[in-house]
Symmetry: C2
């Protein structure tokens, strides 16, 4: 979408310290990422927001393919009866589905549910695809839109319709399925850390927080700029629950017919919300270079037509060189003052700004400004391209490190429940938990904090349950969450 | 999906001459491209079919972006009232929509239509995005799923849900919009010819065949292997029809507020059906290299473990070299006889097969087989990679030329209606048409042939209308169509 000229100047972004929620909404709005649509709870993803999603898709898709996963596409509609076949699954999803009751001018015999997730429709089909152990593993992924009727929506974070990928795999053995579930969680962890620049804590969900129909749910949890958690990817070990409900069987090498072992895993456009909240500042969005639609914006500056032409021409020359090296570049040659341009591209989180004016041209140099640190640096034309690439790498690393430091500063161990109630506002709190759903529910009821996950790889240390004081050897992460 | 071992051998594809429709279904089935789903009229696009769609998307998307088009995403659901705002549009689409009446456990105040196309939901949003002529042109594309309730469905060709792209643009002037409409049609023409290897006839739809709500619809029409037509892409000049219905206005440079001029254009997964029918033969699918998920399949052959290892190792070496040159390669090292493998990859239309056995290894050569001509050729290892790339280019060109020759052979000019009735079975028929909707409707009623398009660039030649005999200076293409 063309940017409205000079208007952007007038809008201010609410400071995070004043109202974090307003700040978020302002950034989404002013970085032109998305907006609410006329349809309740549904969003319009604007070109700039969608370009970020495309970059996420491209990177994730390549990672899935190296695991041998193939893309396919299954129907948007699911017969209502399918959803009911797995008992826990229907309990979890039935309250939030949209239902098509009429089509082609007539009432349907059986209502169709708009997919809230595709386990049921896919596994019915898988049951006919799979005959013997030679057909396994079956590794399928789908990029699709999903509908879950939400009461309170926030752009990207929670919308009635969203975009996602959902992987669904079928395996011969329990071990293989368990292993694949964890492999895919690790793909998400790597993507979050290496590409999004967001450190995450991988772990297991509690029974009450797991996916409806799964045996176990693994997740990665990220800390946002207000100390709250965002579940940023989940991978479910489905065991044989759905296999039994949908008759996904195979003839094993030993000649016996067996139920298969399944997994599913997904991430969605909610990651864009996470990206905003993990790195954004009071000037707006801050993008890690790997997910920036434009990694570099070049602003040619000049007053006289000759000056403008000279700086435009130099801008084009540098842009061509950067693009030749695979850098995504935007030249902003609009006929308007530089100030509002700086302001606008800062709001949009472009990692590096290059300014080229008459003085720079005279000195064979350019001015560069980093979005993450606001650091300005004059760079000579010689070696410029390599220097810019180096800066982009530094920004990618710095954003991760900054987010990690922030999380470390906002993570603490707490034993005392009174202290917990205070500290869980804006922090990740590590506490012992006895494992009972009742204690978990009470903490949630009294503090609105939930167990985000039981982190992997912890040594069993003796302690007392935060809530009931009973013996516990498990530490969990409590936090408020999006 | 893993291929079931040795089973493929037993299935035969119905010859085209026996039953073209059965042949089509067999190819879709046996090349593992798609299947019917448990949901009426919806299809499951299997990995092999979806991989072709991904290649199409990638190529088209790059072409759109060179035109300055940006991707975005709009809601799946459209308030019923929106659809009704443009009179012709609702007439065209209302009978085939699926309607969500319940969601989140309650009846909705206003039913939501599942998008049959997105003009209405997008233009309502555009009306708020556009303020002045500086915001124009607005060039948006969306990759999405679409639902149109179809009574008779055929995989890829006509399904209740399908995948597509829909471009929607807004312009300052009528001329600019008209020009862009034609530019996008030309993008489709180039894609069809250069990538799909299918010659197409660009032209204009008649009033009765145009898009519901458009001023004019342009299209490209392709001939399938049975002489029938497939509309393979449309580009609509919407004029100000929707702008007036959705209040898409802008302040022009002259200070006056004006309604904008709009276009929309799309192609869908139906193109995969066209690909099958334009090139397929009695052995199955024949893919143009540019859209082949695997351009080369290598079959290592051997009896003893040593032979197998040696041919596998050579296969890997050649595959690595080809992949280094950007060629998509599959090594089929499954433990089964070569015959069924040949048969299977022929069915899947892989352009080039390379066989490597003990004799080939001894001679430093390989056997290559072209899918399009069945020509076998022994190639020496020296210069092999270039030779394979050359063959792939030849296949791409040959498929286009073959399809063009076929169309030329099956296109004729007819003046006499009795002769027309006979010739229109399996041919494109060029005939004069007086321009009346009545004559067009009568011909359709009596022969089931429709006017596919009024081809561009024809010299006005005097003649007589095929049906009524009145004077006419316009030649149109009649054909039966999918």
């Amino acid at each position: 979408m063309p940017v409205k000229q000079d208007k952007s100047e007038q809008k201010a972004i609410t400071p995070r310290s004043k109202d974090y929620s307003e700040w978020y909404q302002d950034v989404v709005d002013q970085a032109e990422m998305a907006e609410h649509s006329p349809v309740r709870g549904c969003m319009v993803i604007k070109p700039y927001g969608y370009a970020i999603w495309e970059l996420m898709q491209k990177d994730l898709d390549a990672r899935f393919k190296t695991k041998g996963v193939q893309n396919a596409y299954f129907p948007l509609f699911i017969p209502e009866s399918f959803l009911k076949r797995e008992e826990q699954h229907v309990e979890g999803f039935a309250p939030e589905v949209a239902v098509v009751t009429h089509a082609g001018g007539a009432k349907l015999d059986e209502p169709l549910v708009v997919r809230p997730t595709s386990e049921t429709i896919m596994y019915d089909v898988f049951s006919r695809w799979i005959h013997s152990y030679r057909d396994l593993p079956l590794l399928i992924n789908q990029w699709a839109n999903i509908v879950r009727w939400e009461m309170r929506t926030r752009l990207f974070l929670r919308t009635t319709e969203f975009l996602w990928q959902e992987g669904h795999t079928v395996h011969q053995t329990e071990d293989e399925a368990e292993d694949f579930t964890k492999q895919m969680l690790d793909v998400y962890r790597q993507f979050a850390e290496e590409v999004m620049g967001i450190p995450v804590i991988p772990g297991q969900k509690t029974e009450s927080e797991k996916f409806a129909g799964a045996v176990r749910t693994y997740c990665i949890e990220a800390m946002m700029g207000d100390g709250k958690a965002l579940q940023s990817g989940t991978s479910h070990m489905l065991g044989q629950n759905f296999a039994k409900a949908f008759n996904v069987k195979f003839l094993d090498a030993d000649g016996k017919e067996k139920f298969a072992w399944q997994t599913s895993w997904g991430v969605s456009t909610r990651l864009i919300g996470g990206l905003i909240m993990a790195h954004g500042d009071d000037k707006g969005l801050v993008l890690p270079p790997k997910l920036a639609p434009y990694q570099v914006v070049i602003i040619p500056i000049g007053v006289s037509p000759e000056e403008i032409e000279a700086s435009q021409s130099k801008a084009q020359e540098i842009a061509d060189q950067l693009e030749g090296e695979g850098v995504r570049v935007k030249i902003d040659g609009r006929d308007m003052r530089p100030g509002p341009k700086f302001f606008e591209w800062e709001k949009k989180g472009v990692p590096v700004r290059i300014e080229i004016g008459p003085k720079d041209l005279a000195n064979n140099s350019v001015m560069t400004v980093r979005r993450d640190t606001s650091a300005k640096q004059v760079l000579t034309e010689e070696g410029l391209i390599d220097a810019i690439k180096e800066i982009l790498d530094q920004i990618q690393t710095n954003l991760y490190q900054k987010a990690l430091n922030f999380r470390i500063e906002h993570t603490l161990e707490v034993e005392d429940y009174k202290k917990f109630k205070k500290e869980v506002e804006g922090n990740f709190v590590l506490s012992h938990w006895c494992g009972s759903a009742e204690c978990e529910a009470k903490v949630k009821e009294e503090t609105r904090a939930t167990i985000r996950c039981i982190p992997f790889g912890q040594a069993k240390t003796p302690g007392k349950c935060l809530y009931c004081g009973q013996k516990s050897d498990t530490v969990v992460i409590f936090a408020k969450a999006y």
